[in-house]
């Protein structure tokens, strides 16, 4: 293999969170990531020094790639109810091959999207009023953070997209915008907001309902405890373009399953008196790419079952639910095990699994076959999706380093399975 590149790689896309900032300069020294310039703390941790383990383990012992692929193919072909799981840190190109494998196996396939299922399902019932993040930057003059401070899990969201930057219709950047924090129970908005509204967690759905009714002119009293939100929604209707920002990923306290739909309904209703886009925050690792790929190949964004020889949608019987009731007898996990939700990782411990991806050999659930690969965006290229479904190229700073390619490994498994006709 060729030696790893020295120097710096510019315009690198970071997959540390769903912001997918593509302005990172990765400085490489002696085959390691020395610095990820402009990355936030989350991003710096995601790049790390670029070192990943390089092992192939078959039943706990070192093995060759050829044998690992053969064992993996046999394990998966022999299964009656195989599951393919798309974890984080793989490219769309790998995800496309993974769906082909699930189709071939007549297995189920799911992804990290399961954690954001309420929002996806609500958007399938109602649609949604949205925008790409750059449009919020250009247009929004009022930004309402609904029970979320992006600083914690999406550190550069404010700096790059909705709050600070200069936009066509926001020439003063931060000064051209009002920022309102809506604190919903413990889920607090940003501390440096221009205004703040507080709602008890139990009153969240009522608040959203009252706001929507007010927009539609169907309301209503303005007395406590919802007077503040009525005032807020009046502000929203007077704005030119409202960005309503909410977290689609689960927080420390579970949110009401109907919240996502109520937020969509409010954002849609505001498109009448004014313009409004709901921005739902999603985590990193190219999870949004998995939604997109599954949708174009199967018609469904997650929780797909090929058991009947064609895709069926089982949004309430995704990977976690199937594993919990042992409706899976073998699994192929593609991506970084560290990104798995706890419920999925626990369920995998009880069945035979194949893991292909970054640090697969370190998976706590002890895969029968584990093949370590590089990380999409650090060691290998391809495409990844930002949280708003904007596709971005990956620029691996350590491509050519002595790291196995996830794309080639998964393609090898696919071809092996397709050869076993």
């Amino acid at each position: 293999m060729s030696p790893p590149p020295a120097g710096a790689v510019e315009h690198v896309t970071c997959l540390g969170c769903g912001c997918a900032c593509d302005d990172i300069t990765v400085v490489v020294q002696r085959g390691r990531v020395a610095e990820a310039q402009r990355a936030c703390a989350l991003g710096a941790a995601w790049f790390g020094d670029g070192r990943v383990p390089d092992e192939i383990r078959i039943r706990g012992r070192a093995g060759t790639l050829e044998r690992a692929i053969a064992e993996a193919a046999k394990l998966l072909s022999d299964a009656e109810r195989p599951l393919v799981y798309l974890a984080g840190d793989v490219s769309c190109e790998v995800q496309r091959d993974a769906v082909a494998i699930a189709d071939r196996l007549r297995g189920a396939i799911d992804s990290l999207a399961g954690t954001a299922a309420p929002g996806l399902l609500a958007a399938q019932r109602r649609g949604r009023a949205g925008a790409t993040l750059g449009e919020l930057r250009q247009r929004a003059d009022l930004v309402v953070f609904w029970g979320v401070d992006p600083g914690a899990r999406y550190p550069r969201y404010g700096a790059r997209y909705a709050v600070d930057p200069v936009g066509l219709a926001a020439p003063g950047g931060r000064k051209s915008r009002r920022v309102i924090a809506v604190d919903v129970g413990d889920a607090r908005g940003p501390a440096d907001a221009d205004g703040r509204v507080t709602i008890p967690a139990a009153a969240e759905l009522d608040a959203l309902g009252v706001m929507r009714a007010t927009v539609q002119g169907r309301f209503i009293r303005t007395d406590a405890p919802l007077g503040e939100v009525v005032a807020l929604v009046h502000d929203m209707t007077r704005a030119r373009y409202v960005a309503l920002v909410a977290d689609a990923e689960p927080g420390p306290t579970p949110s009401d399953p109907d919240r996502a739909e109520a937020l969509i309904a409010l954002a849609q209703a505001l498109n009448g008196p004014t313009r409004c886009a709901l921005s739902t925050l999603r985590g990193g690792g190219n999870r949004s790419g998995a939604d997109a790929v599954l949708t174009w190949q199967t018609g469904f964004p997650f929780a797909v079952d090929f058991g009947r020889g064609y895709p069926t949608y089982r949004p309430h019987a995704g990977a976690a639910e199937r594993l919990a009731v042992r409706d899976v007898d073998a699994a192929l996990v593609i991506g970084a095990p560290a990104t798995l939700p706890a419920a999925v990782a626990e369920g995998l411990a009880g069945i035979a699994t194949v893991a292909i991806g970054p640090r697969a050999s370190t998976a706590a659930w002890k895969p029968v076959v584990a093949v370590d690969t590089g990380v999409a965006g650090i060691h290998e290229g391809g495409t990844a999706f930002r949280m708003d479904d904007v596709p971005l190229p990956l620029r691996p700073a350590l491509e050519g380093a002595d790291v196995r390619s996830a794309a080639a490994t998964v393609r090898g498994l696919r071809e092996r399975l397709e050869g076993d006709a």
């Binding site: 082909a100 449009e135 498109n271 009947r308 949004p315 495409t383």
Partner: protein, 542 residues
């Protein structure tokens, strides 16, 4: 049979209108993926005695790939559940894939179904440049059709700034750069200026006519049309600018449509889904057909071409970059609605919809489309389309062909539709025209291939791509065109005895016009100031 590299298709009645062949029994010879003049005597034969042979179908305007289409797919799980597509049993080649159908099928199903109809080329009609990479990935997963896409321009802030500054040459260079960097095939304009106003969020959320100001008074829909039509023609693109006019779907929009055509007088231009732009009457007061005025104008102007965008009764999904139109449809229909404003470029709106025979406006739309077809004088410039999946899906093309070819059937169907708004429609005057097989071959393959500048497609002369479709004749033309007996794609027999047997990848159709590269410095500066994607990461270059 396996696919031989040579094939002699014998005994069929050939329709090759590009060469004046109108139903003549003759051989079609294929070698190495191309049509050839002759083959050695022992070459493998495909006997299609009694059948009809045409070039492979060419869809000039459909929404089959890219971010808007995928947002629509995601919105329609109930349709996908109701229309499963098991993997076909293929003879050899790439392993088959399963999928789902509905009005917006999954990618593999899209390719399989097009091939089943005898179509071998399709143009995705609206791709936001920001998501070009996704459109290419989806087309890579759409087998059997050679495909390209039209890239959206005309509401993008960089272009509007150049128009405001009178920088026509720079606007042209920018368009050329964008075509190349996104690997697109042609320039698409959707509701010029209107989408920009919708996104701007001010008091005015759309344009109402060609001379409305869009931000600057120097920027109007007319200026946008002139600038981009001029750019496409100056760059000598194979397909001229592809225009979705202002005021789509509005009563009385015929005035806007005619004014748009006049604005580009003497220049090549393609006006798409013309049916949606051919309504008389007055907004808020009533509708009537405006088809006659529009098609007469088209008939008299050989520099113009159109596709019809026929409405077919049944389920559809409206998906367009025309955000304000979809908001209106959402408000009036109460159906679910997706809106995605796309940074610095365009919009996207989606509303699932059903056209019902008993609904007055849907019946008018149906009639207007048929009037356009039946009053058109030059089939070479009037292409068959349903603006898939907006007016109906591409699977309804066979039914549309029957309506065009079978007057008795058409008249019978006409009796069953709501008549309320049909007064003044030429259809009620008893249009007697019936399309011939030769004319169908023009409006479904020879014409669109020529209008797209695809010199290797849409005909059967030596050198053409070996994309050939064989249909078994049937008095019921819908049945005949619904399932091709044989389809040959780039020389491979992909449909045999009506069964899909092979699903090779299609080719990508793209242009790379020359331009003054100085423009990229200025575009990069604009990106650095405003975009959230690095200039270097934009587009879809390999």
């Amino acid at each position: 049979m396996t696919t031989p590299s040579r094939l002699r298709i014998t005994g069929g009645t050939v329709y090759d209108p590009a060469h004046g062949v109108d139903g003549v029994v003759r051989e079609v010879c294929i070698e190495g993926g191309r049509i050839v003049a002759e083959l050695p005597a022992g070459a493998p034969r495909l006997d299609v005695r009694g059948m009809v042979v045409m070039p492979g179908g060419v869809d000039i305007h459909a929404h089959v790939a890219g971010s808007s289409v995928n947002h629509a797919r995601r919105l329609l799980p109930e349709e996908h559940t109701a229309d499963p597509v098991p993997a076909p049993r293929l003879a050899d080649g790439l392993p088959p894939r399963s999928g789902t159908g509905g009005t917006v099928p999954s990618t593999f199903a899209t390719g399989y179904r097009y091939a089943g109809l005898g179509y071998t080329t399709a143009m995705e009609a609206a791709v936001a440049p920001l998501a070009a990479r996704q459109a290419h990935a989806e087309l890579d997963d759409t087998p059997l059709i050679d495909a390209g896409f039209f890239v959206l321009l005309g509401n993008d802030d960089y272009l509007l700034r150049q128009i405001a500054a009178g920088e026509t040459a720079r606007a042209r260079d920018y368009a050329a750069w964008l075509l190349g960097v996104t690997r697109a095939y042609a320039i698409k304009i959707v509701n010029p200026g209107g989408v920009a106003l919708w996104k701007g969020g001010g008091g005015t959320r759309n344009v109402s006519g060609l001379d409305d100001a869009v931000g600057s008074s120097a920027v109007t829909p007319r200026k946008i049309l002139e600038t981009l039509a001029g750019a496409a023609n100056a760059l000598a693109l194979p397909h001229p600018v592809h225009i979705h006019c202002n005021n789509l779907g509005q009563a009385g929009n015929v005035a806007t449509t005619l004014e748009s055509m006049r604005a580009l007088s003497g220049q090549r231009a393609h006006f798409t889904h013309l049916q949606f732009h051919s309504y008389g009457g007055e907004r808020g007061k009533g509708w009537k057909s405006g088809a006659r005025d529009v098609i007469e104008y088209v008939n008299g102007h050989p520099e113009l071409s159109v596709d019809v965008g026929q409405v077919m009764f049944g389920p559809a999904t409206t998906v367009t970059a025309d955000g304000p139109v979809e908001h209106l449809l959402y408000a009036s229909s109460g159906r679910k609605w997706v809106n995605v404003d796309t940074e610095l470029e365009t919009g996207c709106g989606i509303v699932p919809y059903t056209y019902r025979e008993k609904a007055a406006v849907a019946a008018l739309q149906w009639a207007v489309g048929l009037e356009l077809f039946l009053l058109a004088k030059d089939p070479w410039r009037v292409v068959l389309s349903t603006d898939h999946p907006n007016g109906g899906t591409f699977l309804s093309y066979p039914e549309l062909i029957r309506l065009l070819m079978d007057r008795a059937y058409r008249d019978e169907r006409l009796k069953g539709v709501n008549q309320k708004l049909l007064a003044g429609s030429a259809l009620l005057d008893g249009l007697t025209r019936e399309y011939t097989l030769g004319e169908i071959a023009i409006v479904t393959r020879a014409g669109p291939a020529r209008l797209l500048g695809l010199s290797h497609k849409g005909h059967l002369a030596p050198g053409a791509d070996a994309d050939v479709t064989v249909y078994a004749p049937d008095a019921d033309r819908a049945k005949m065109f619904a399932a091709a007996r044989y389809v040959i794609k780039a020389g491979a027999i992909v449909v045999e005895e009506g069964q899909l047997r092979r699903a090779p990848a299609g080719a990508r159709l793209a242009v790379h016009p020359d331009y003054d590269t100085a423009v990229t410095k200025d575009v990069k500066r604009f990106f650095d100031d405003y975009a959230t994607v690095a200039f270097e990461n934009y587009g879809a270059e390999r």
